[in-house]
Symmetry: C2
Subunit: 216 residues, 2 copies
DNA sequence: CTCGTAACTAACCAACTAGATAGTTAAAAG
DNA sequence: CTTTTAACTATCTAGTTGGTTAGTTACGAG
């Protein structure tokens, strides 16, 4: 397995800072994040942030780029599917859900970025982002053509889908706080329950009304 | 019309600070907001924040309470309503939507706070916040009892509803940026279109399946 | 072995920020 | 007019933060 803890390892230090930074930036936001807290979280001297990333801003950009590469590879396999629309929709939701669950901190950072006008998101990343939406639009278009999905605004529907999943994650830190203070409004649903609920709402809510009971 | 600018006016100063605070907190977050910027925005001396609100934290709570009071008073009459569940649900969505559109900054502040564990939100604000969820749960419970709404997880469904509306608002700054860069993925739907889409998805997606076509 | 350098540390600092405070003034009360 | 006080300002301060820097140590090349 090699040495568990060597005294010096540039790559390990870099990775530790990226990981700690992802967590702290997601929780506190850029301004709220303290470089000392990130360094402590990484088990590294604060000066290493400057040494490797040129400062707080540089680390933030690096965290964002690093986190987004996961997202991009997660979305890649989505568009080759040729299942019927409802099946594709279901698969799409599950794929998104699994990425969201896998990298919640990246989602939180992206939410903050979008609230701030997405100033630090570069165009390549942006392009990939739009692929999410294009997939939704494609599925909905197919479903409309084949009479399985009713006529809805694709952009709006996409926002509902992503928003439903995102909102669960962004409220999670608050739920933890509420629970620890004992004034929670009831137990929260699990992620799996939530995703199932989202999927069910979409499948039922988007289905075209049957004119007769002609479907086989 | 009275004097447009009197030299001293406690109420006007308070209101100006609340308004400026709402805007700056929404844009920068609690940590990112500078009391000096808020004071400047209100055209008032920085010390007035301490004088009237006891400090940054006090102003923040006041901004939140002020912003939520509109929402609460708007939602309050919904609970004695005796319309059928589906009608109540529809009204609830419209009421939330109109508050969201009217006070988007309050929504953004709440999103930021929840991502950070709601550490700046005091219990009074928290209590009021839960009223939203209680209303959803009440409507769904009624609907289930009367057989009009299928059995769904109330908490999860509430998150979907609020998340759908919230996500539209929090992505708005990003859409502005995308549009100005010319690489938008198509025109965004209007708020009204989005709300109509949300309402329709919920009404269809939550409806209990009719066992026969016995409904009158 | 020894030397150069990348990796790392501890201490420091300039800049900034929320809040305090002492003093000033408008305006209401009598 | 005088008094009182709420409303307001200019200035200061204690504490924090991101970043710098001089110095130290591990490590690989030759």
């Amino acid at each position: 397995m090699g040495p568990i803890r060597s005294t010096r390892d540039a790559e390990r230090t870099r990775a530790a800072l990226l990981l700690a930074g992802r967590s702290v930036f997601a929780e506190r936001g850029y301004e709220g994040a303290r470089t000392q807290e990130i360094a402590d979280g990484a088990g590294v001297n604060k000066a290493m942030i400057n040494y490797y990333f040129g400062g707080k801003q540089g680390l933030f950009s690096a965290v964002l780029l690093d986190g987004l590469s996961d997202a991009i590879s997660a979305v890649a396999p989505l568009r080759r599917d040729e299942d019927p629309p409802m099946q594709r929709l279901s698969t799409f939701i599950d794929t998104m859900a699994s990425f969201f669950r896998q990298s919640p901190d990246v989602v939180l950072i992206l939410v903050r970025e979008q609230m701030g006008g997405a100033r630090h998101i570069e165009s390549e990343v942006r392009r990939r982002f739009f692929d999410f939406f294009r997939t939704t639009r494609e599925i909905l278009g197919e479903g409309l053509a084949s009479g399985r999905i009713r006529d809805v605004d694709a952009h709006s529907t996409h926002l509902i889908l992503v928003g439903s999943l995102t909102y669960y994650l962004l409220t999670e830190p608050a739920r933890v706080t509420y629970a620890s203070h004992g004034d929670a409004p009831g137990a929260a649903p699990s992620w799996e329950t939530h995703v199932r609920n989202v999927r069910e709402l979409f499948l039922r809510g988007l289905a075209a009304e049957r004119l007769h009971k002609e479907e086989r």
